[in-house]
Symmetry: C2
Subunit: 452 residues, 2 copies
């Protein structure tokens, strides 16, 4: 009669249980790194997103005027909200500020595999440190979270880059390179190239999905000569050990600083034990958004999941642009839909089966004893179900089976006359009697095995 | 620069940690009862709420037209959504269906103490059982959740009633009672009273907040005579042991069935060990909403928190009205804002302090060793922070103190020359050396005490 909205999902218990496992894994890992959970609103002023991303963002938003005439939007991402929170308490928060949270976000986009209009992310951010160790800790958390999910280096790959390498190289093609550098000499030869850096970065960002000719076409449209486009493309394919070639080519402080910073982040990642998951990939640009330093995207190593699984990076200017004191920041936000595609592909998707430790089955008028037994088992932390529907013996046993109960405790009128309970192992079907006042006894999790 | 919206809240880590404790407690208790978590959308068709609650609901909703022209609303409550989910899979779900979830809901209401426009609830429902044990299991879960939070019978009170007792008594005043009953004889004497049952129930629902004269005025407005209003008021104050008086008074099957059902629910609550938290309170009507049987509300026993903390009850007609097969249902939805008011009043509010097991302090170029130590401790499940901001010794120690680190592991260049680490207990300030390859060693959680 009523339909779920397009791009929104219902999670029934099996699927929810797998999702909860994944969320718990990411959050436990974040807690162990000393990230602290924050709670954030689902609605914010639309202006916050327009100021950050331009008017164009509005058509992707669930935005509306509320009953009080405010222009509000269902949050499409977390970063502006946490930036607002940092600004609001910038004096009292001891830095570095390390926050995480898992929640839904909303974007009015066309749903496709791994993309929904309502989607869940675990956001993890460090505010107040420009040290390369902060970038590396974000990479380390992400890698640990992935391996805690059961994934390995065979399954995923962090493609790491630095925004200023792309920007700086393009700038040097634009004739702004040092005249002593190779780029400066090239630019002098070719005249003022007047490169549209943003258009060129957009082209790089899409290069994965384009034919080479088309890609080079976009680069030349952006103001590079044909030779420069070829050279630029070659430079972006440099190995991590040869990053110094870029410094030499550009001959600018900007590229030198970026290369040094990227090398320092990779060195810290080495110390943190996660360098092996990182590949240098200078094409990784993370759009034109607010990133200012190291950026990275996680990909399926096999390419079977063709989209980026998630991404992150450094955004040192956002807090200041939100009216705060200059505060460097770096973060990452794994989305659970794409992460679950990767886990499924890798065969490590968490179990969707329901788990039940005990089903306490009542036969006849035995509720007081059954309730006492169920209560005792629950106090030990077990998942315990009991009849709340006045079902027959057979119906209760079927239900216990449907919720994968490991042990069934049968509380029958006849048994009780002998002061006994029946303990049934559901896997084998074996059962045995136990005195009613010895169950559950001293054992934390008594099973048929323990009693028989 | 940007403001949070009115009625919405930011939860910084301390407050969030207390809130997470409360949510975990309610959810763990639900899991132990065999309730299964579900995940649900934040947006639904507005029509679902209008059909259930009438056009008037719209002004309380965050509703709008989405980019695709759909009339949508941010969910103001969970029940219609889970009803929709039950209907969508009614064939395949094994019954009883026992679901829980914690999430935010949204209503455009005037914020006041314990009421926000964005508010969090843990919803717990049983579908597919009309047995009184199902109602009692909801009461038992709620009582266990409250006591697991540290509350006791001194702090809270479940006021329990049955919708058909109120309705049935009013009906009998309306001349529909059995002619052999006392009500029937009364009605015959006074002529056809033509009672507006809904108006009378609304009056009862508000009776707590009204002067007696005003309350009786509303009852007479609803069609009761002055004597009937007095009598009705007396009847509602009956003790639990004397419920049979109501059956005798009304002389209708409806009141008899309701009284029997309520007694059975209270008997099951006795078996489940939670009868002591329940008080008979026939004024408890839970509005005019979809409730059909036993209803209850949780109140602060001292009355200091004057609002109802939360409520629940049986709603057997909703699934059918949503196009499903007739499916009895009973549920409850504690709101975390009022619950936190009660916990604060009772002095059992969870701790807002941050907890950190270890801070690994780096002095000089010791990151590889510090990272190894931090990693080993994290693998044992501890919360471990380490420097990611290139801070000085003193700044790191201040930070460790600000996050309440219990133990600081100092990894210094000089110590390392002797292959040692320094273990500092933050409470006492005591410290000692330990060989670097013996830490963390075999102990799960090595402290200064263990080593010195």
């Amino acid at each position: 009669m009523y339909e779920r909205l397009k791009g929104f999902r219902d999670f029934y218990p099996g699927e929810m249980s797998a999702r909860r496992d994944a969320i718990d894994t990411l959050e436990d890992t974040a807690r162990r790194y000393g990230f602290r959970e924050v709670g954030t609103p689902a609605l914010e002023s639309t202006r916050m997103y327009v100021d950050k991303s331009g008017e164009g963002i509005v058509e992707e938003l669930y935005s509306f005027e509320d009953q009080g005439g405010r222009d509000v939007a269902m949050t499409p991402e977390l970063t502006p909200t946490v930036a607002r929170m940092v600004v609001a308490k910038q004096q009292e928060l001891s830095k570095p500020i390390k926050w995480f949270s898992t929640r839904p976000f909303w974007r009015y986009e066309e749903p496709q595999q791994g993309r929904f209009r309502e989607f869940y992310q675990t956001n993890v951010d460090v505010f107040g440190s420009s040290d390369p160790a902060a970038d590396a800790e974000i990479l380390a958390w992400a890698a640990d979270a992935m391996t805690d999910l059961g994934l390995t280096g065979e399954h995923f790959d962090f493609r790491v880059s630095h925004r200023d390498i792309l920007g700086g190289l393009l700038e040097s093609f634009d004739g702004c390179g040092s005249p002593d550098s190779q780029a400066g000499r090239n630019a002098a030869r070719s005249g003022d190239a007047d490169v549209d850096t943003e258009a060129a970065i957009r082209a790089v960002d899409k290069s994965d999905t384009l034919e080479k000719a088309e890609y080079h076409g976009l680069l030349t449209d952006a103001g590079l000569s044909y030779d420069q486009a070829e050279r630029f493309d070659d430079l972006l394919r440099v190995d991590a050990e040869d990053l110094d070639e870029l410094v030499e080519f550009a001959g600018t402080d900007r590229v030198e600083a970026a290369v040094t910073n990227l090398q320092n982040v990779l060195d810290a990642a080495e110390d943190f034990g996660v360098r092996e998951y990182c590949t240098l990939s200078l094409e990784t640009a993370r759009g034109l958004d607010y990133y200012t330093g190291v950026v990275f995207e996680c990909f399926d190593s096999t390419g079977e999941v063709s989209r980026s699984i998630f991404g992150g990076g450094r955004y040192d200017d956002l807090i200041e642009s939100f009216g705060g004191q200059p505060t460097p920041a770096v973060g990452v936000a794994p989305g659970h839909a794409t992460l679950s595609l990767l886990c499924r592909r890798a065969g490590v998707r968490p179990d969707e089966e329901l788990a039940t430790d005990y089903y306490v089955l009542q036969v006849g008028d035995t509720r007081p004893v059954a309730a006492r037994v169920a209560g005792d088992l629950r106090e030990r932390g077990h998942v315990v179900e009991s009849d709340v529907a006045g079902r027959s013996f057979g119906a209760q046993l079927d239900y216990a089976d449907s919720v994968n109960a490991e042990t069934v405790v049968i509380v029958g009128e006849q048994d009780l006359e002998n002061d006994e309970l029946t303990i049934k192992d559901m896997a084998s079907g074996d059962q045995t009697q136990v005195p009613v006042d010895e169950f559950p006894g001293d054992d934390d999790a008594p099973t048929y095995e323990d009693i028989a």
